[in-house]
Amino acid sequence: MDLSIILENLPIYFTGLKNTVILVSISLVLGLLLAVPLAILRNYGNPLVQLPIRAFVYFFRGTPLLVQMFLIYYGFGQFDLIKESLLWPFFREAYFCALFAFTLNTAAYTTEILRGAIKATPHGEIEAAMAAGMSRFLMVRRIILPSAFRRALPAYSNEIIFMLHGSSLASVITIVDITGAARIINSRFYSPYEAFLTAAVFYLAITFLIVFLVKKLEVHWFAHLQPQSTSEQVVESPP
């Protein structure tokens, strides 16, 4: 192990870290924004709407992310229709293609997670909402989604970590993310241990940070389910 290689090249790793964080956070946010309406339609939409959503989820969950990325990055150039359209400047860029593939991928997984969470809404809550005279939209917004998000959180935290790990594939199409940085350093100095172990440490640190933040969020969201703290249960002594 030659630590000086790592220390001298830390700037490359930080560039990689920046790209990884950007790719993962943007695709997670866009994916979640896509997944919420898709999951609602998947549960309550009419069968003609449900079918394409099912096909979308089936395709993106059943094929490797690498192949999806190749289909978009290399594949779209095959069609003159796309090549001549205004979108081509975007799809020519590796960065945009990676972002596009990651977004659709995480949208599909998140749709499936949310679908299950929405389906598991207790009947009583829905009946109570109807009895209170809520409209369909109000019921989804106030009753179904808040409780579904809570139920989905543990599975969604896995999805966040999965996306972080999946983002390492961006390095295959020339993007300098953390893995990309490691590959540059490995080929430049022929030092695989230093290069990839450093990348591994970066990923481990981010993973632990995510796990920590989700735990915090869980405590906050599930506050009403926590056992009451003993300090508040002061038993008054009888007079």
């Binding site: 089936y58 395709f59 059943g62 094929t63 490797p64 992310l65 690498l66 192949v67 999806q68 190749f70 289909l71 290399y74 594949g75 779209f76 150039g77 095959q78 069609f79 970590i161 972080l164 790990h165 999946g166 983002s167 390492s168 594939l169 390095s171 295959v172 893995t179 490691a182 590959r183 490995n186 695989p192 241990y193 290069a195 990839f196 172990l197 990348a199 591994a200 990923y203 481990l204 993973t207 632990f208």
Partner: protein, 229 residues
């Protein structure tokens, strides 16, 4: 659009290799998973600690980074080890071995968790009864724990298998001729990347769908002795 320009057989060969990599990795993953699960449930603290470190680190590092580490790092390690053992030639690490061992090692961690849960789900009283009959610990495991944990392990096992198949796509990056790489070669020659990658995607969908069907059958078979509620 859907002409494969004679590359069909080549893609088919790649599909066979993908299946080989998947099955070989699954075998390693299952062995590691059983060992890991037993280590996690053992009374020895050091074993529990090792298993804990194994599962935590593997789940925190991307598959691709581990694979590149094993492929490039393993190469260097073996060639440093060779002279120490009195071997002078250069040893080339085979991408098949690098790929299979990495994927097996990664999914061994996931299998550990699955198997650990399944072992814990087996009725304690039965194990005690086995011990009371004078069975050795190994025999209790083989005759009582193992047959019953299969039922509890199958759903998690199935999920791991489906993820594992998709992970094998990564071996194309370290130069193994699986179907993704074969598709890449064909795409380069014909300039029809979308067609070939779509074929590969459909192949994955077919493999996963067949797997799901078989897993359903297995689950039904191993749940025969249990009443469905």
């Amino acid at each position: 659009m859907f002409s494969l320009h004679g590359y069909g057989p080549s893609i088919f060969e790649g599909t066979i290799l993908t299946l080989e990599v998947s099955l070989a990795s699954l075998f390693i993953a299952m062995l590691l998973g059983i060992c890991g699960a037993l280590a996690k449930l053992s009374r020895a603290r050091s074993l529990r600690l090792i298993a804990q470190i194994y599962t935590t680190t593997i789940r925190g590092i991307p598959d691709l980074v581990l694979m590149l580490l094993v492929f490039y790092g393993g190469q260097m390690f073996i060639n440093q080890l060779g002279p120490m053992l009195g071997y002078d030639g250069y040893i080339d690490i085979n991408p098949f071995i690098a790929g299979v061992s990495t994927i097996g090692f990664i999914f061994g961690a996931y299998m550990t968790e699955t198997f650990r849960g399944a072992i814990l789900a087996v009725n304690k009283g039965q194990l005690e009864a086995g011990t009371a009959y004078g069975m050795s610990a190994f025999m209790v495991f083989r005759r009582i724990t193992l047959p019953q944990m299969v039922r509890h392990a199958l759903p998690g096992f199935g999920n791991n298998w489906l993820v594992l198949i998709k992970t094998t796509a990564l071996v194309s990056i370290i130069g193994l001729n699986d179907m993704v790489r074969k598709a890449g070669l064909a795409a380069g020659a014909t300039r029809e990347p979308f067609t070939f990658y779509l074929v590969v995607a459909i192949n994955y969908l077919v493999i996963t769908s067949i797997s799901i069907y078989i897993l359903k059958q297995l689950e039904r078979r191993y749940s025969v002795g249990v009443r469905e509620f």
